[in-house]
């Protein structure tokens, strides 16, 4: 019974992570629900939920070519934005009722510009996010959250009360709590699920109605209770990086015997490690504080690398990680020097580290395999 629940849940999560559209979104649309896409971990999606919309985190999943989008980008733009925009030009994102972009990086910023010129998604917005994590920046972002709320109210003809915002915050926090429980299971000597499976569960959380997702995840957690899992692995690894949404990459790593027991990824721990403060007096302030200071830090934030590396070290200790693997998309400006610094700091702390460059879609698997195999061998595992 439990194995059935478990495999059905993994199936549904993997399917949601493996495509852009899924039956849950299709049904939501059929019932008249609106879907708003968003880029990046810093968009206050609770605002969209409070408006009765389904937030969908943008991906280029399933894209095999960029010949349509290449005409709109330069040859130094990353493959994530080129693949995602290619899907949009093909019509795969016609189901969106809106898109919220944020200036997380210059590559994503250009998606907004290109989208505005070439597509007709009704509600298109770009949020201006500050580059530091002090209280002054929280104040700035609070204004942006309010402006977003106002724009959503106006366009979708809804009212978003403080109480609705709190309800959305509680709902999103529930997801975060459940996902945190899933991660805690991987602290054991024999984690009941792989890193690839975990990533599929996390990606699915950005691609379906939240209440439904929470239900499915609760059922999965129940079925995993007391399950003894992966024991024949060579080493416990943690993956650090940005926009990695393809469990296939983690599968390549895990095939070599490096079980991914933890991560610091946008779709991973970053999305749920901390909670929005439900005790705060004002919901927009609570959201701003969470997305600027509360969430594990992003390399786009100036001067915050020591806090990021401290987070990595905490994860290394808590999950008894043997080695850390840094991933970086080709042409990603944010992560290039970040991994150089990670290398210095982790080595100083005696933690083995390796980084690899990749493209958005999982090509060049042979090269990744060789590096991971060599990394495990250098660790003596």
């Amino acid at each position: 019974m439990d194995t059935e629940v478990r495999s059905k849940a993994f199936e549904e999560f993997t399917a949601a992570a493996g495509a852009v559209m899924n039956p849950e979104i299709a049904e939501w649309k059929e019932q008249g629900g609106g879907v708003v896409g968003y880029f990046c971990s810093h968009v206050p999606t609770e605002v969209l939920t409070a408006a009765g919309l389904l937030p969908f985190r943008m991906r280029g999943t399933g894209s095999t070519a960029t010949e349509l989008s290449d005409a709109f980008f330069s040859n130094i733009n990353c493959s994530f934005v080129r693949h995602t925009f290619n899907l949009a030009l093909q019509g795969d994102y016609d189901f969106l009722d809106g898109l919220v972009c944020v200036n997380s990086c210059d590559h994503v910023r250009r998606v907004y510009d290109n989208w505005k010129r070439n597509l007709t998604t009704p509600f298109l917005r770009i949020i201006s996010m500050p580059k530091k994590v002090e209280d002054a920046q929280v104040g700035w972002y609070r204004d942006e959250v309010t402006l977003l709320k106002d724009a959503v109210e106006k366009h979708f003809r809804v009212v978003i009360s403080d109480e609705q915002l709190w309800e959305a915050i509680r709902l999103h926090n529930r997801t975060r709590r459940l996902q945190r429980v899933l991660y805690e299971l991987r602290k054991s000597e024999a984690p009941p699920l792989t890193g690839a499976q975990t990533l599929a569960v996390m990606v699915a959380g950005t691609a379906m109605p939240r209440r439904r997702y929470n239900e499915l995840l609760e059922a999965l957690l129940e079925s995993l209770r007391g399950v003894n899992g992966q024991q024949n692995y060579r080493a416990r690894l943690m993956v650090v990086g940005g926009e990695l949404d393809d469990p296939g990459y983690l599968e390549v790593i895990e095939e070599q015997g490096g079980l991914v027991v933890a991560d610091a990824l946008c779709f991973g721990s970053k999305a749920m490690w901390n909670l929005v403060d439900e005790e705060a007096s004002d919901p927009t302030e609570a959201l701003a504080r969470y997305y600027i200071q509360g969430q594990p830090s992003c390399p786009r934030m100036h001067g915050d690398q020591p806090r990021r590396v401290a987070f990595l070290m905490d994860m290394v200790r808590e999950f008894r990680v043997d080695g850390v693997v840094g991933e970086r998309m080709m042409f990603c400006d944010l992560w290039c020097v970040e991994h150089y610094m990670n290398d210095l700091d982790l080595k100083e702390a005696g933690v083995p580290f390796i980084s690899f460059d990749r493209e958005y879609n999982a090509s060049a698997k042979g090269q990744l395999r060789t590096r991971i195999q060599a990394f495990l061998e250098t660790m003596g595992k």
């Binding site: 460059d357 060049a364 042979g366 090269q367 060789t370 590096r371 195999q373 060599a374 061998e377 250098t378 003596g380």
Partner: protein, 260 residues
């Protein structure tokens, strides 16, 4: 215990037959399009040379190189990073930095005193600094790979080749030929361009003496001298053909695994 190491590379396949601490035989073949076939061919030749009747006489075989997953008769496979390091270190125990220049990749490994890899950096994404690059240049210059190795020594002022990319570097070389630049200077320039790239890789892992070269391109004397100039250290030689260093390392690991 007689064991075997098989390094299936993009350009050549290498095999070594090892008996405890003695290399009984080694062999090198040009790679075919099927790694399994290349591996079988080279292993069978090495086994014959060692005076054995068949590959099955080997107690344990470790495969390495980019085709290592396709060697069905190997008992295990280990990355070429680990194998080149182990092999080079066994052939010259003073070695602490290994620069492997293969057919289509190049890598640098920093070793500890036991020949275990501490750090490594690889270029397997493009032809820069690999055998493919030298092959292309030898073709354009009409001097053969032997010429790239020997003629460079006469080069007084190496031509500057600024392109990182082999395709664009080839264009630069054609331009230099048409401008009447001396062949020896062009060849020296080619070797210097590759040495520049390799030396930056060496600096990434940290240079520690002694340094040695492995892989097919390590036989290029012009490259070795250029690298010495760039890094300010001597390139040490190995007691066997450096091209078999990976297969030697694989055989050594086979020896360990069969006892375990």
């Amino acid at each position: 215990m007689i064991v075997g190491g098989c390094d299936v590379g993009s350009t050549t396949g290498k095999a070594v037959v090892l008996n405890e601490t003695a290399i009984l035989s080694h062999f090198i073949v040009p790679s075919t399009t099927k790694p399994e076939r290349t591996a079988r061919m080279v292993m069978e030749e090495a086994v014959k040379m060692a005076g054995l009747s068949s590959v099955d006489d080997l107690a344990y075989i470790v495969g390495t190189g980019y085709g290592r997953l396709k060697v069905s008769f190997a008992h295990d496979n280990v990355s070429e990073i680990t194998c080149h390091a182990r092999g080079a270190h066994w052939l010259n125990p003073a070695v602490r930095t290994v620069v492997d220049i293969g057919g289509q990749d190049c890598k640098v490994m920093a070793l500890d005193e036991r020949g275990r890899v501490l750090e490594f950096v690889m270029n397997d994404k493009c032809a820069a600094g690999t055998g493919r690059f030298f092959e292309a240049m030898a073709r354009v210059l009409g001097c053969g790979l032997e010429g790239i190795s020997s003629l460079a020594n006469q080069g007084g002022s190496p031509a500057t080749i600024s392109s990182q990319c082999s395709v664009f570097a080839e264009s630069e070389v054609v331009t230099l030929i048409n401008e009447g630049v001396d062949l020896a200077d062009i060849i020296a320039g080619i070797n210097h361009a590759v040495a520049k790239r390799l030396s930056s890789m060496v600096r990434r892992v940290g240079l520690a003496e002694e340094l040695t070269l492995t892989g097919g391109c390590s036989k290029n004397q012009g490259l070795a001298r250029a690298l010495e100039q760039k890094l300010g250290v001597s390139v040490r030689t190995l007691s066997q053909d450096p091209q078999i260093a990976g297969a030697v390392g694989a055989a050594l690991i086979a020896s360990e695994k069969v006892k375990a």
